[in-house]
Symmetry: C2
Subunit: 468 residues, 2 copies
Amino acid sequence: MGHADTLERNETGIATVIASLTQRFGDRLQTGRAIRDQHGHTTTWLETQAPDAVVFPETTEEVAEIVRTCAAHKVPVIAFGVGSSLEGHVNAPAGGICVDFNRMNRILAVHPEDLDVVVQPGVTREDLNVALRDKGLFFPIDPGANASLGGMAATRASGTNAVRYGTMKDNIIALEAVMPDGTIIRTAQRAKKTSAGYDLTRLLVGSEGTLGLITAITLRLQGIPEAISAARCSFPTLDAACQAAMMAIQYGIPVARMELMDAMAVKAVNLYSKLGLPEEPLLLLEFHGSTAGVAEQAESFGMISEEVGGTGFEWTTSTEERNRLWKARHDFYWASLQLRPGASAVATDACVPISRLAECVALAVAKADELGILCPVVGHVGDGNFHMSPLIDKSDPAELEKAEGYVAWLAKLAISMDGTCTGEHGIGQGKRKYMEQELGPAIRYMQAIKAAIDPDNIMNPGKILPPA
Amino acid sequence: MGHADTLERNETGIATVIASLTQRFGDRLQTGRAIRDQHGHTTTWLETQAPDAVVFPETTEEVAEIVRTCAAHKVPVIAFGVGSSLEGHVNAPAGGICVDFNRMNRILAVHPEDLDVVVQPGVTREDLNVALRDKGLFFPIDPGANASLGGMAATRASGTNAVRYGTMKDNIIALEAVMPDGTIIRTAQRAKKTSAGYDLTRLLVGSEGTLGLITAITLRLQGIPEAISAARCSFPTLDAACQAAMMAIQYGIPVARMELMDAMAVKAVNLYSKLGLPEEPLLLLEFHGSTAGVAEQAESFGMISEEVGGTGFEWTTSTEERNRLWKARHDFYWASLQLRPGASAVATDACVPISRLAECVALAVAKADELGILCPVVGHVGDGNFHMSPLIDKSDPAELEKAEGYVAWLAKLAISMDGTCTGEHGIGQGKRKYMEQELGPAIRYMQAIKAAIDPDNIMNPGKILPPA
C-alpha cells in the first residue's frame, strides 16, 4: 500500500501513458508546470506534490478510457474537483495523471417529483442551487467552499446544515463510477431506499478517490422551505453556549444550522466587519419550515438560551436581517486572517459526541493559550464538530512545528473522547497517522477492500490508509 | 462463492466444530431437530435448510471464539435474531453453526445528551423503546415485526416511518462486529459524523451476515415528539392516492408515516375488524412535532388530498382516536389472510422512484387480476415502496408456480422503472436471481469485497451474491 513518502514513481509507465493520452486527448491533456502545481495544491503545510499531467475528460466513457490506460501501465490516477480539499487529497506523491472534472459539469436530469437530481461530478454546489431555484428545490449540504459535488461525495463532506439534513452519505441515492480496471458501474437504482446487496454507494462516498472515480451522482433534494428564520444569541461562557446547543437538539428543535463562534472569533469579525457584537461566545442559528413553524422554533430556542444565561437573543425572518445576523459567520475566514496579518490558518476538524463538546473545546482553547497559538474557534456544534484555526507563520519552522504538534494533540484528544480526528474534511495525507488510534483493527479490513478493488494501488495512492 | 443449490457440506469440519463448541458451551449448544428446524425457518416458499447446531453466546468474546473455531475448520456461521426475516436469510444451505443472539439482549449504554444508545444485537425494537420511554426518547425504525436490532441492521430494514426518519443505514452511528477471522472491530467512534476512512458501518449494514457478525450497535435516537397527530383519507383511485402522497412529500410536509392500502386491503380490514371504511384506496398518515406543528401538517395534507379528490379526511391528536384511525393498517396482515382462509401471504418488496409509483402499482394490480391471484396492496408510499401480498395455497404446485412467476415479474418491473426488487427486506436466497438485472457489473465488486473479507466463504454462504 506504500507510505506517501516511500511510494515510488513508475517513470516508464508515466511516460507511456502521457504519450498515449496526448494522442487521444490533444489539448485536453496538459503538462505545463503551472497547471500541474495548481492541481497538487494543498492548504496544509504538506508540500505540494504535482501530478505529471492533467487531463480534462468530458464523458464517463472518456474517464474509463483514461483509467484503462493508466491501469494497463500501473500509473496513479488522481481525481480533481475545484481543489478546495484540506488534507492533501489531490497531491500526487508518486506522480501520475490528474483527472480534472471541470468539463463534466452538466446537470443530467432533474426529477422534481422524486426530489432528486443527477449531476456530473464537476457541478459545484452553488451552480446546482442556482439551477434548481426556479423549481423550488435546493441541495442542502454546504461545506463553505463552493466545492464540486464529486469532491464533496469523495470526502463525505458536510458543513453548517448537516445538523438538519445530514452529510453527503445521507444525501446520495446512487453513484456512477469508473472502477480501477476501467469498468463503469452504477451502485444503485434511483429508488429512495434499497436493501439490495452491499452498499457500494456509501463505500465510495468518503473513499477520497482511492477506490474509483465518481462520474455521476444522484442527489436527494429538499423543497425550499416556505420560511427561514435566523437567530443569534451571546453567552457568558463557551460551556453555556454548548449547553444551549445540546438542549436545542435534545428538545427536538429541528435547527437547520447552529454555529458556535468563540470570543476571539467574534472579536475578529468585529474588527473586520464593524459588527459591534459583544465579544463573548456566540451561537448563530437558522430554522427552516412553515411561517408559524420557524417562529415557534426561534422562540423555543430563545427560552432555552435564557435558561443557560444567554443574552442579546434576537431573531428575524427578513432576508436582509438574516444576512446581517449571519454576516459574522460568513466573514469569519477572512476576518480571522486579519487577527494576524500575513499568517495562514490551519484547518482542524475534531468531532466528538455532543456531551463531550464543551469539555473538548475548553481543553483545546486552554492548550492553544498555553502554547501561545492564536486560535479562534468556530463549530458546527449540533454535530459536535468544531474547527480550531491556528494562525501561523508558515515560514517559521519553530512555529510550524508547534502548530503541527497542536493539531496532532487535538486529533488525539478528540479520539480519546470517543470522537474522530475528522468530522468532515477527510483523512487525505495529513491524518493517516491517526487512523490506527481511531479505528484500530478495522483498518485491516479497509486495506483488504482497497487491495481487492485496486490491486495495483493506482487510485489516489498514499491517501487514507496507513502503510499496510 | 457457490450457489445455494450447489454449496457442499463440510461434514468433517462440522462434526469437529460441534464437538469443540459443545465442550466449550455445554447446554448453550443445541443440536435437536426441532430447534434446528426453527432456526432455518423461512416465510417464503424456499425450503427450510436447518443448521447443524445452534449456539447461544452471551458476550462478544464468545462470538469471536465461535467464529474462530468455525474459521479454523471452514464451517459456515449463520446469525439469527428472532427469525422474522423474509427471504431465507437464516437458511443453512451447506449446514453449519447458527449463532442465536437471543442472550445478547442487553442495552449497554444510553446517552440521552447525545441522543444515542449502545445495544447488543439481540435487543428487539419494542424492548428498546420500552426501556427508553421514561427518558423521553425513542428509536424510530419500525419494520412491523418486533425484530432484533441486529437483524434489522443486517438487512438494512426500514418500515412505516422511514419516510421521516430514514432506514437502518441512516440511524446507525457505529457497529462492533466479529469478522470472519474472529477479529473484533469497531467500525467508527461515537461522534455523530466522521470522514475517517471507508464507511465500514454502512458496508456491514445490509450485508446480511455475509461479511461479519454484528455484536453491538450504536443507534441514533429521537426525542419523543411533543405531539403526534394521525390522519386518514380515502381516494377514488390508486393514482389519486399516490398523487396526494407525492404532493405531500414535494410540499415538504414532514410526514412521519404515510401508508397506502388499496380497496382490497381496506375490504379485508373491514371484514376482519368491522371498520366500515369506504372500500376505496386509503392513505393513513402520522405527523410528529409540536402541538401547533402537527395541526398545521394535518391541515396542509387535508388541503392536498382535497385537490386530488380525496374524501372522508379526518385527523386527530388523541391517542385513542389515533389508534382507531390506524387500526386498519395494524390489522392488515391477519385481516388479509382472512380474505382466503387457509392461504399464506407471500412477501414482495418493490420500491420505485415515487414518480413511477402509481404506474407500478397499477400494473402490478392489473397483472394479479389477469393471473387470478388474490393480492391486496399496502405500501410505504412516501418511499415508493409497496408490498403486494399474493394469497396462495402453498400445497398447490400450480398455484405456487404462478405466484413465483408473479413475484419474479414484479421484481423485474420495479427494476425496469429504475427501482429495486427489495426496498427493505433484503436479498437473502430468494432474490439473488435479480441482482444481475438490478446492479450489473457492480456485483463483481461486491464479490471482490466478499472474497477479500471472507476468503473461505464461511459467513452465511449462499446469500445475497449470485454465484461468481
